[in-house]
């Protein structure tokens, strides 16, 4: 089935998206004229001193042309030229449609956020990022497949979520940067400057009321404009392909690719909740309370953001936009073809050990044996994985306490440290398993299908 990438409706609708960007940048240009001062042109262009706002003016002008083109040229979609080039789509598809690449990129983004926080958390950089992402979205919407995924009423909140996550991350770093700079100069955090108490009414409740009304109105408009994405009546004999959890659970669902349901669906979610509750009791760093900072809480923030950005938000994005029929990975510009097939040749650790390592056949529990003896056989069979897992959870914390986390262990005491170390290790278990899967096609470390226990 060949679908046209562009239709008149799409082009016309995109016109409004560009119009919004145009208006935003028009105001930004005015702001830039007031605040940003001047810069020197490269010598090729004469080297004159020009206001920085000129570049924004130029960008706004391009947006004017794009808007005009979309509002006037929509009648002939076949010859409309504002499209993403195919090579670009191909590059993007390849770079995201493999979980390895995708995960590597989310890690890279995470690292970049931490490393370049001073450069990125500025107004101009933030604005450039916003523009880049909206432009990327507008151009990508010219692709039929991208529209199918992103434009699904189900998925609209996730697109919104990405912008919101981006904004608040940016905001927190911006504020943290300010405070870190002040702290370096020996000043107190900004939040400490103006710590007068305010009135519940009107400063709190009135504001809340307004937000409540505004949000309700927004939801009403949303509900009217985007119709409920109803599908066929539920049937146990015919489930949708792909069958996806609600968007906020897609991170958990992604874990199912690597872990057994009892771990990915029960143990890990409970650990996340319990771990979050335990955080105040684990945290021994007294700094950073009630104000934004990064430098004073580098470890805590980095670990949290690692859990939140690549492991939670990143997995939701992957689950929403990249997982297609048969739970295969698809590029964002790729057709969700049910016929696409991926080889899933994964091997258990015990198989590696017995079949490949020792060149023996696997110990098989004999049905005529006693229950105890059968269990013993199974444990014997899975001994390498069991030992490895136990070592990971019991031995590694001690090693950590003796090496990199000596300071932590010393300040936390044994019990707190063990809880902390296990939480960190459980979080690290996901990327660890992912890497094992990608590197060695490892299916399970411990595979006891007889009793539905797989790790």
């Amino acid at each position: 089935m060949h679908h046209p990438n562009l239709t008149s409706d799409v082009i016309f609708g995109l016109g409004f998206l560009y119009l919004v960007q145009l208006v935003m940048n028009f105001f930004w240009t005015i702001r830039s004229l007031k605040n940003d001062g001047h810069c020197r042109l490269p010598s090729l262009l004469g080297g004159a001193e020009v206001p920085v706002a000129m570049w924004w003016g130029l960008y706004t002008a391009i947006l004017i042309m794009l808007t005009a083109a979309h509002f006037t040229g929509y009648s002939s979609p076949d010859s409309f030229q504002v499209l993403l080039p195919d090579w670009f789509k191909a590059v993007v598809d390849v770079s995201v449609s493999d979980p390895k690449y995708f995960f590597a990129q989310t890690i890279a983004v995470f690292a970049a956020i931490i490393l370049f926080r001073r450069q990125l958390a500025t107004d101009t950089a933030g604005w450039i990022l916003l523009n880049a992402s909206t432009l990327f979205l507008s151009l990508s919407l010219t692709d039929w497949d991208f529209r199918q995924i992103v434009g699904k009423p189900d998925n609209v909140p996730i697109v919104g979520m990405l912008f919101i996550v981006g904004f608040f991350t940016w905001l927190s770093f911006k504020k943290a940067n300010e405070n870190d700079a002040r702290l370096e100069q020996g000043l107190g955090p900004l939040e400490g400057e103006n710590n007068e108490k305010v009135l519940v009414w009107p400063d709190l409740v009135y504001t809340e009321l307004i937000v409540m009304i505004g949000l309700t109105a927004f939801l009403f408009f949303w509900g009217v404009c985007l119709e409920a994405p109803l599908e066929e009546p539920a049937s146990s004999v015919k489930t949708p392909n792909p069958s996806k959890a609600p968007w906020y659970f897609l991170g958990l669902q992604e874990m199912l690719v690597y872990y057994d349901p009892w771990l990915a669906g029960v143990v890990f979610p409970s650990t996340i909740l319990g771990g979050m509750m335990a955080l105040p009791y684990i945290d021994f760093n007294k700094k950073g309370n009630g104000y934004y900072t990064f430098n004073e809480r580098k470890f805590a923030i980095s670990v949290f953001l690692f859990g939140f950005l690549p492991l939670w938000v990143g997995m939701i994005v992957l689950g929403t936009f990249l997982r297609g029929p048969n739970w295969n990975m698809f590029g964002i510009y790729e057709y969700w073809d049910v016929h696409k097939l991926e080889a899933l040749n994964n091997v258990n650790l015990s198989e590696y050990f017995w079949l490949y390592g020792l060149g023996m056949s696997m110990p098989v529990p004999d049905a005529s044996d006693s229950f105890f003896w059968q269990i013993c056989t199974i444990v014997y069979r899975e001994a390498p994985g069991i030992l490895l897992t136990l070592g990971y959870l019991l031995l590694l914390p001690s090693l950590m306490a003796m090496t990199v986390f000596r300071n932590f262990a010393f300040r936390m005491g044994f019990f707190r440290f063990m809880v902390f170390a296990n939480l960190v290790l459980l979080m690290a278990a996901l990327p660890a398993k992912m890497i094992l899967r990608w590197a060695f096609n490892l299916k399970y470390l411990v595979a006891i299908p007889e009793y539905f226990i797989n790790i």
Binding site: I213, G214, V224, P233
Partner: protein, 1286 residues
Amino acid sequence: MPATDQYLRNIKKVHVVFCLSAIAFALSTVLILYRDHDDEWRGYQSDFDAIETAVARNAITAAEVEAGGSAEAYTTKSLELKERISSIDSQLATSNKNYSELSSTVAETARLYDLKGRDVRFKRADRDVAKANLDLGIRDAVPADEMDQLTKAFNDAKSIVDTLELEWEQLETRYREEQKELQEITAERDALEAELKAYTAQVARIETALDDIAPGSTLKRFKRGFMELPIIDGFNGHQRVIQDWLPELKITLGMSKTARFDRCRTCHLGIDKFGAGNVPSFPHGETQDSSPTEWVAANEFPHPFSSHPRPDVYLTASSPHPLPEFGCTICHDGQGSATSFHNAQHGPNDPKQAQEWKDEFGYFHNHFWEYPMLPERLRESSCLKCHHEVIELGVNPKFGPTAPKAFEGWQLIQKYGCFGCHEINGFDGHDRIGPDLRLEPTIEELPKYASDPNMVPGKMRKVGPGLKHIAQKSGENWIAYWTEDPQRFRPSTRMPKFFGLSNLKDHAGIEISKVELAGIAQFLSHQSTDIELDSPAANYVPDAERGKESMAKRGCIACHQHADPAFAGGDADFGPDLSLTAQKLLPGQAGFDWVYTWIRDPQRHHPRSRMPNLFLEPVVDAEGKVTEDPAADIAAFLVGNGPKEWPAPEFDESAANDLAELYLSGKLLTAAQFKDFMETRVFPLAREEIKGDEIELVFDGEGAPDENQFRTLMMNYLGRRSISRYGCYGCHDINGFGTSRPIGTALQDWGRKDPSRLALEHVAEFLHHHGEKDGSSTAAFVNDALKKATADAFDSEEEREEAMRTSFFYDSLMHHGRPGFIFQKLRHPRSYDYEKTSTKTYVERLVMPKFPLSDDNIESIATFVLGLVAEPPSEQYVYTPDRRTEDRNQGEILLRKYNCISCHMTDMHEIEVAVSDGDQAMEPTDASAFHGFALEKLLEIRPPSEAWTGRDHRVVVDGEDDQTLPTMKFRGMLMMTPENSPFYDEDDPETWQYSFTTWEPASLTKPGSEEDAGLKLPGSLFVTQQSRIAKLKKAETGGFAEWLVRRSMGDEFNPKAFDDAWQNGPPPLFGEGVKVQTEWLYRFLREPDQIRYLKTGLRMPKFNMSQNEARILANYFAAADGAIYPYEAIPQSDQGYLAEMQELFSKNHAERASENSYLQESWQMLSTTLCIKCHSVGGREFSAAPNDPNVTHAPNLDRVNSRLRPDWLSVWVSNPKWITPYTAMPIPFPKGQKQYNPLFGADAESQTIGVRDALMNYYRLLEKNTEPLPPWRDPAAAAAEQASLN
């Protein structure tokens, strides 16, 4: 730090923000309300109000015209009456003092009466309370003192009421008296008022109705507008969702069954509005007008306002599908609970319509709804949910064909035998779930069915000929040639093409196909067993010319065709075309004997053959010499120039080895075993270890087979394996395949098959490059068709329909729809293998063959298959006919199964002609010329039809004024037509003449008319012209009989030749049910004896019919004609009846009674010279003028009493032409003629009855009259004798 007086934010700005958010909130709420209220159906309801207003206004005008002659006159007259009333009123008020006094008194009394009425009601309520308290007291057995109080309270209250009621009554009496007094004064005015009321009653009634739809007063209009406002409209507003709740007609949604809600009538407001006589109130029309008044003026209404076109079948209370019980979506599908065009899931009939709907209603294809509304072209498929026997959808005496397309699909499936591979199991255990089309059990399977009572056996016979003895008929070369492309040998064959199709065009495909063809041919010969073949008498020399004649006359052409000019016009396709039969036979005597035996005794070759035994017995002369052997003659004709040489199939050895490897290596044998086997030629498995076709590879001889033997074994194996793979045994009986299962997908629930499970593969690519008949791209064709449709550039409606059909199914396929899949599957069965052959081995490729079907056929089959949903509704909805209808339906199926309808007309021609005064068609028959009792009986067994249709026909003749005339309808036989008319004038088609004989009584009285216009009795002939014929519906049955008549009569119509030809052909079975006794018919169908000796030699053949089938067929005729069955009384042979007749006879014919008993007198009647001229009577073989070819040999009368029904016999004996207008039998005893004196005193009526009774007591009389009848005498002598008698 304490809070300051400062606010954190600028409170004024916060107020502004609050205000803005509140406005946004208010706007969003308004938007929700607006969107909630903005329903499409409100607009339709307003439009429909406008339609009904316009209709009512028209009706008012019509009523005014009816009352006053014209609208103006009506207004004038009613105004005048009103004025006169008011002038009298004013006169009374001013001049009559008495009147004003009296009227005020009356008013005062009325006021007092009302007042008293209030009192009465209040006190009655008190009394009722007291009564209830008393009752409660009694129930609770309260103490005596309390009881007394209660009784007293009741008595008191009662006496008050009694008093008041009395006073009230008095006031009423007073009021009446006073009013009477007043009426004396106002008598004149009251009379005028009554007159006015009567005059305006009709108009006022419609005006009141109109006032509800379009209120006249401002207040009412305001109220109506107010009630349309959002929210307010929830309080019983006049615009509302109209829904039909169908709790028993459940719909399956995902996992649950839930009651059906159909809200279709919310927009389709006129759908169930019908006028008197079930005439649609809002007939549909694709009108271009856009305003309701214009629709009303044109009496054509667009969707969704129009009424249902078939009120006789749907929606009305008198129809079989009344609206409150059936709703809409059980038939139409779609989402009944929806109230918008799109959500109702309307189904476009073609992509052009889809585009129009998209523009108009925002339609789009929504694959989430499981039951989209059926497009018009597939609409009939939903009938199959309840109509599991299907036949009633195509053959229905009451409603006509109601679902002809689904019916045609069902017939095509039977014709081409789709169920041979695709089982359509109509049963889930013993529960009926849909139409049942399954093969009947093979002989090998019978024990399984016999032992399991839960298995319902199938009923279908394999459609192809049995091949168990094929080696006796044809050689291997021909088999291979035929199988490769059956249509190449016989273009009209039903056998599909398996080879040379699109997925076999590659090298492997071509080479291995050759191996398969050779293998199939060899295996079929190898499995063949011999039957004993007969030969004609040794010294008999068959005569091919005579054989040709016999073939035409003995009924072969009823089922077969032959290209010889002698059979021109015979177009039967029930059996194969016989033109080239000779070419496929074995050479020499073998081939001849095979044909001879087959014709003589078809069952010998195939025990369940549908070819009947035609009783082609040799004629033997007195010396025992065969003088004529029709079977041998026919065989000689068919064998003709003898068989043809066919090329031996050629193939490449290595291709055969490749195929063997594909089948064996890695499957039953390992690769190494296979390699070893090919070298040693010894199959590694023993015979007992093999269950499948590999049994053929086991060598029975000593040691290893030599190369030739091995080659034979291998080819037998590959042939057998190919037969398994292609499922040949689905249509043909082949030895060794008795228990093989059908190879294809079962279809009983295919109509609900999950579309995601349809293997579309690269069919889109295929259609992008190929797909049309000339090999061009279907995608391009559809694209072009849509452009043409938009530009309205088609040359004809047929061309448009063809193009739109292809477009519809293409579009469906592109949306992964079932309709598109099946259409493509039948059009290009192997196209789903397009570009797949490179990754599939030969034996994995699709094997569905290509049938010779037109797109039209395919659409019919698709309609049927898509209706197979295996979702039977609750029991009360499943079509369960009464016994009579059931027998009729099942009989119709059998009539087609055995092709009875080719020889016998079961329906007659139907003609609808425009008539004007003086036309022959309008002339009643003079009933007084016939015996009264016979006419009575005739009308009893054949109730007259209504001749007047109530329709008009416009008669256009060049050079004359056009005239519109009423039409009459008759059933009977078309005799002279332009084609056989000697007056055939090619230049002037309007004056072409037709003559027509009626076959059933018709009442000429106009419906509703008081005047009796008489009857047109059967056998009446009339002539009419082409221009007068409004409709001519030729009988769909009896094609062979008519062909034989045409052949015998010649091209020119000649009444005598026509009658003679019919007398010697298969008789029409019109009214057979009232003619023959059901029991006799049953026996006759099982074992037909020869009733009449026709000059054509034709006789009823013996069909291979089961007992049950014969029973159903015998019942069918009685059921169809409304006769009593299966048992009927024959009172004429009862003792009581005979005693009564004897008494009557003694009374009326005293002089004869002394000589003869009643029955004996009747016997003498029967054996007069008249009857025995043509019939064999009393053991005397009919031998009248034995050599005279012009004398018809009538049936022997000995079987009459067991064969014929007495009422029918009465009619027949009294006037045979009423039953069979062409019969040679004269009216034996015409009314008023004195013959055969002194028998019955020469009273014709008594003689008629006497003959009937004699026939019904035939054997009783034979016992008494053991003396043989006198021999036949010369007619002249007989005439002399009769003269002397007279």
